[in-house]
């Protein structure tokens, strides 16, 4: 019985209010996108937590590998000059 009715997994993203981006809330099972949206409404917005929902099939997400977390993100590691705090500005200089 199980394999024929195993519903795919969906990731749910909720926009909590207008002006904010959608953020990941969790996942759920549903047979199709429409039911995934309805289930997401019932599961993740029971207390008006959202004004907009996205559902994405989990198997459509490509993720970076945790094994290469050092090398993959390494290029940004030695570039502190990308941050404003890298620069020394004399005391008293304003609006900078």
């Amino acid at each position: 019985m199980s394999s024929s009715t195993d519903w795919p997994l969906w990731e749910v993203f909720v926009r909590s209010r207008r002006g904010l981006s959608h953020t990941h809330a969790g996942s759920l099972h549903a047979p199709d996108a429409e039911m995934a949206l309805r289930n997401a409404r019932d599961l993740y917005t029971r207390r008006s937590e959202g004004v907009s929902l996205w559902v994405v099939p989990s198997d459509r997400i490509t993720a970076s590998s945790p094994d290469e977390k050092d090398s993959f993100f390494e290029p940004a590691g030695d570039k502190p000059y990308r941050h404003p705090t890298f620069y020394e500005i004399p005391d008293g200089v304003k609006h900078l």
């Binding site: 519903w7 099972h29 996108a33 599961l43």
Partner: protein
């Protein structure tokens, strides 16, 4: 997010040659020691994974079995207000079950497998739900004591070392606080009501107090999983510590309710700065755990029946989805998703 867990499991079992395994273990230990979270695609020891699956499955099962004793009273709630509240609460329990099943699935164990094991009696749920709800006041006692004990247990789980479990617990704890307060308010109304209502409230507290204390699990020296779970930072406090906290919280709350706790040995211990309380009947706990509680059979039967009777809905939805996706591409209801 469950993506990638299968390959991760394969990798974890394949890498058993000393060198890489030891390095992975060291990285895992360092992450736990530094209070970092372990995420689904990280390497983790098999025993850590198994222990989490056991605990999270039991937790998820408890949420959905826990719907039964209270749902028993929905049709007989004394007012529309109380009925709406109780329905919302039972619906929350279903939601909590789903958060936890999702979190458990990130460890590579499928939803069907978890439900099958529950139905076959191979995974447990909290023994508290094997007690009956005999009167309306039981709904209040469950909210105050059972959900109160659950919150005491669950708040530290928000800092559990496994990320998806911790995140599910954050969401659950936020919602549980309504559960506890509605129960307390319900008991307060009864306690301040007619003598018969007051007596009903007292009777419910008398029956639920000891089973609630058992919810924290066996004493520390008899708890099979405690020490390892604490080393892994899945658990943050011992069973006895959490139980003590709960007693200390409840004593003044009971006073404010005008109800007594059914333990003549409860008294303030000046030296410890905490309440002493009487000995728990662990034989009863073991019996209920073994399946000999008042409602074990009924709870599991109803759970199996609900699953079987819902089979046609699941099948129909799956057929509908196949029909609609095979034809005109994916069934996306309202078009354009843009990041």
């Amino acid at each position: 997010m469950a993506a990638g867990t299968a390959s991760q499991t394969a990798q974890a079992t394949a890498g058993s040659a000393e060198g890489p395994e030891a390095a992975l273990q060291a990285a895992f230990d360092a992450a736990v020691a530094a209070d970092e979270r372990i995420e689904p695609r990280d390497w983790m020891p098999d025993a850590y994974r198994a222990s989490l699956v056991r605990q999270m499955a039991q937790h998820a099962h408890s949420e959905i079995i826990g719907m039964q004793p209270e749902a028993n009273w929905i049709t007989r709630a004394p007012s529309l207000r109380r009925k709406a509240i109780l329905m919302a609460k039972v619906q929350d329990e279903a939601g909590h079950g789903l958060y936890l099943y999702s979190a458990a699935e990130t460890l590579g164990t499928g939803r069907e497998e978890l439900l099958d094991k529950l139905h076959a009696g191979r995974q447990r749920y909290s023994s508290i739900f094997n007690y009956p709800t005999l009167t309306w006041a039981d709904v209040g006692a469950i909210g105050w004591l059972v959900d109160g004990a659950a919150i005491t247990n669950q708040v530290p789980l928000c800092r559990c070392s496994y990320g998806p479990y911790a995140r599910a617990m954050v969401r659950i704890c936020k919602e549980e606080s309504f559960h506890q307060r509605q129960g307390y308010e319900l008991l307060l109304a009864l306690s301040n009501g007619t003598p018969a209502q007051h007596e009903m409230a007292q009777d419910a507290v008398n029956r639920w107090w000891w089973p609630s204390l058992m919810m924290f699990g066996p004493p520390d020296d008899a708890s099979a999983h405690s020490a390892q779970s604490m080393a892994w930072k899945i658990k943050r406090h011992s069973n006895d510590e959490l139980r003590q906290r709960f007693v200390d919280i409840c004593v003044p709350q009971a006073e404010a309710l005008g109800l007594s706790l059914p333990d003549p040995d409860i008294r303030w211990n000046e030296e410890r700065g905490r309440h002493d309380f009487g000995a728990i009947d662990w034989t009863e706990f073991q019996e209920v755990l073994k399946g000999n509680g008042p409602c074990n059979e009924q709870r599991l039967d109803q759970r199996r029946r609900a699953h079987e009777e819902g089979a046609w809905v699941r099948e129909a939805a799956a057929v509908y989805a196949r029909k609609h996706t095979s034809g005109a591409g994916p069934a996306v209801p309202n078009g354009k998703a843009t990041a």
